[in-house]
């Protein structure tokens, strides 16, 4: 592995690191709101990954310009897919927070070990 290749492709590494961090936070943090934040970090890392896949060094936005017919365009599809991904992530967050509010009313705490036990 040469260092240059790693440096040029750093968005992939960042997204993998963020994904691992997010998953770890969801699984280990006792605080439910922190779990939701972990979910958001995880999904954001995936958005970063998709957009890095679509990006192209030296590319321009994919708008046709008759003056530069040979221009190198960035792939717009992954960015468009991630719009859907953002909507999904948003709705999951909203739903999870609604459930957490309800649990807070029942238990008076948002710390998971106080009630979530493996049965």
């Amino acid at each position: 592995m040469n260092l240059e290749l790693i440096l040029l492709n750093f968005p992939y590494f960042v997204s993998i690191i963020l994904f691992s961090m997010g998953t770890l936070i969801v699984l280990t943090q006792p605080n439910l709101v922190k779990k939701v934040i972990g979910i958001n970090i995880m999904e954001t890392s995936i958005f970063l990954f998709f957009i890095a896949v679509g990006n192209m060094r030296g590319g321009v936005p994919p708008i046709y310009d008759p003056n530069y017919p040979q221009a190198l365009y960035v792939n717009p599809l992954p960015s468009v897919l991630m719009l859907t991904g953002i909507v999904v992530s948003f709705s999951v967050t909203a739903f999870a927070l609604a459930l957490i509010v309800k649990l807070y009313i029942y238990y008076g705490t948002i710390s998971a070990p106080n009630f979530m036990k493996l049965k």
Binding site: V26, I39, V53, F115
Partner: protein
């Protein structure tokens, strides 16, 4: 011809539109929601029957949504496997909805009725779309629709336990779909396509250049779909979610929702990645090992549960193992039996959960040690329960026997005869936790509970079940379905084999 290819699209869009009309109707009149949802589902069921008829003639329906052709647009493709799953999903949802007429009034607060049917129809639309879709990103969106609405079906009850279970389900399911989305990103990076058949064509060319990336992608998909489909070590959300949900929700979650993910997984594994990668990487060995663990451990966990619905939920973990075993074997009989087990299990688990709901409705009993005299109190319900339980154990003449027999044949084909021992052992474990319930219901001499039934002296006489007809009919239909699949499995098997011959 062209209009028939559009039918799968209508099957997704009709319940989707109807689901968003439900809250409006609920504001007007709460009572119309259930019949409207049932009518919608019935319409979808009829459409899927038409699709099934055309697919059985040997044609494969393919429709490019809004006229954009496959490499760029979304394609919906229905082969015989998708067609039979669509029929199964809409048919079983129809009977669960009929059951829910009375059960929802008993189990849910009146104010959530409209929203409950919204979630139900969204879930139906997501599931039907998931088995019909041929585009992996579209699959991801439908997976999320199914997952979130399934969480809503659990949370609808609004008790402490169900809210807690719904949150647990939501968090773990989101991790699962995150893994799936990352896998989709990897596939898009390797191939530049999202359509399954184009991915397959591209992967055969480039697979030798990216061996590590393909390994990574496969493992991401196994973890993602494993969490979603409750493959054994990743099943932690399932028992809570399925046992604390209202009984119609438990039935649809346990019999359909966890299965559609398996169908999507099979499509990605066997069509997109193709058989070469399936056999070259050790993915099938991993799946077989996990499946064996699921079959044994799921049954052990089920054995120690006291609450009936938790026992049934753990039993689902074990049965998912059978389906994954069929996929892991990768032989014609193994895969056909795995897919047949999806169908059989959908019938018997729906029957068992609906029976549990009906028993709780009439007598309020939820523990397995309270079943004394139940066979006399509710003869039809307990009869259906017995049929489904026999099928679960794998007694001949019932549906479960055929799929287990097929799995045994499949493991002989794959040259792994030791697996037959595991299948038999798991069947015996099933017997250890179903037969005590049945034995107590019919043969127990214990008179303690008989005094609860208001008239002590007639506790050993058959009475008619005191549950509404709308609850009784679905239970009886499911039990008849189990028997039908056990005696005439040929039609269904031939139908599935149409696709499996192409896949393998």
């Amino acid at each position: 011809m062209d209009s028939i290819a559009k039918l799968p699209f209508y099957c997704v869009i009709i319940p989707l539109i109807a689901s968003f009309c439900m809250p409006v109707f609920a504001r007007w009149k709460k009572e119309v929601c259930a019949p409207l949802a049932t009518l919608t589902t019935a319409a979808v069921f009829i459409l899927t029957l038409i699709i099934g008829y055309h697919v059985s003639q040997g044609q494969i329906l393919s429709y490019a949504v809004s006229g954009w052709d496959p490499p760029w647009g979304i394609e919906m493709m229905v082969d015989s496997l998708s067609a039979i799953m669509m029929m199964l999903i809409s048919g079983i949802s129809l009977f669960i909805l009929i059951f829910s007429f009375a059960a929802i009034k008993y189990e849910l607060e009146r104010i959530v009725t409209g929203w409950y049917y919204t979630a139900f129809l969204l879930c139906l639309s997501g599931m039907v779309g998931l088995v019909a879709s041929n585009d992996i990103f579209n699959m991801y969106v439908l997976i999320e629709i199914t997952g979130i609405s399934a969480c809503a079906l659990v949370a609808a009850k609004g008790t402490r336990l169900s809210t807690e279970a719904a949150l647990k389900y939501l968090l773990l399911a989101t991790i699962g779909s995150g893994f799936i989305l990352f896998g989709i990103g990897f596939i898009y990076m390797i191939t530049g396509h999202l359509n399954i058949h184009f991915i397959a064509a591209e992967l055969t060319i480039v697979k030798d250049q990216y061996p590590i990336l393909i390994w990574t992608t496969l493992s991401f998909f196994v973890v993602g779909f494993g969490v979603k489909a409750a493959l054994f070590p990743l099943h932690l959300w399932l028992p809570d979610a399925h046992s604390s949900a209202p009984s119609p929700s438990s039935a649809i979650l346990s019999s359909l929702v966890v299965k559609v993910y398996i169908i999507a997984f099979v499509k990605i594994l066997l069509i997109a990645f193709g058989l070469e990668i399936f056999h070259e990487t050790f993915i099938r060995h991993l799946i077989i090992v996990l499946a064996i663990m699921a079959m044994l451990a799921g049954s052990f966990f089920a054995f120690v549960q006291i609450e009936l619905k938790r026992r049934l939920a753990y039993s689902t973990v074990a049965q998912i193992g059978y389906v994954f075993l069929g996929i892991g074997l990768g032989t014609p009989w193994g895969l056909a039996a795995g897919m047949l087990h999806i169908i059989v299990h959908a019938f018997m688990k729906t029957c068992l959960f609906l029976c549990a709901g009906a028993i709780a409705y009439q007598t309020g009993r939820k523990q397995v040690n309270e079943f004394t005299g139940m066979g006399y109190l509710m003869p039809i319900t307990m009869g259906a329960f017995t049929i489904a339980a026999f099928s679960m154990v794998g007694i001949p003449l019932f549906g479960g026997f055929i799929s287990k027999y097929g799995l045994a044949l499949g493991s002989l084909e794959a040259d792994l005869p030791i697996l037959i021992l595991v299948i038999v052992l798991s069947g015996l474990l099933n017997a250890t936790y179903y037969f005590p319930i049945i034995g107590q219901a019919y043969f127990s001499q214990d008179e303690e509970h008989a005094s609860d039934d208001h008239d002590t002296n007639s506790s050993s006489k058959f009475k008619r079940d005191q549950i509404p007809l709308s609850m009784l009919i679905p239970i009886v239909v499911m039990a008849l379905g189990v028997i039908y699949l056990g005696i005439f499995p040929g039609t269904v098997l031939n139908f599935i084999n149409q696709t499996i011959e192409v896949l393998l």
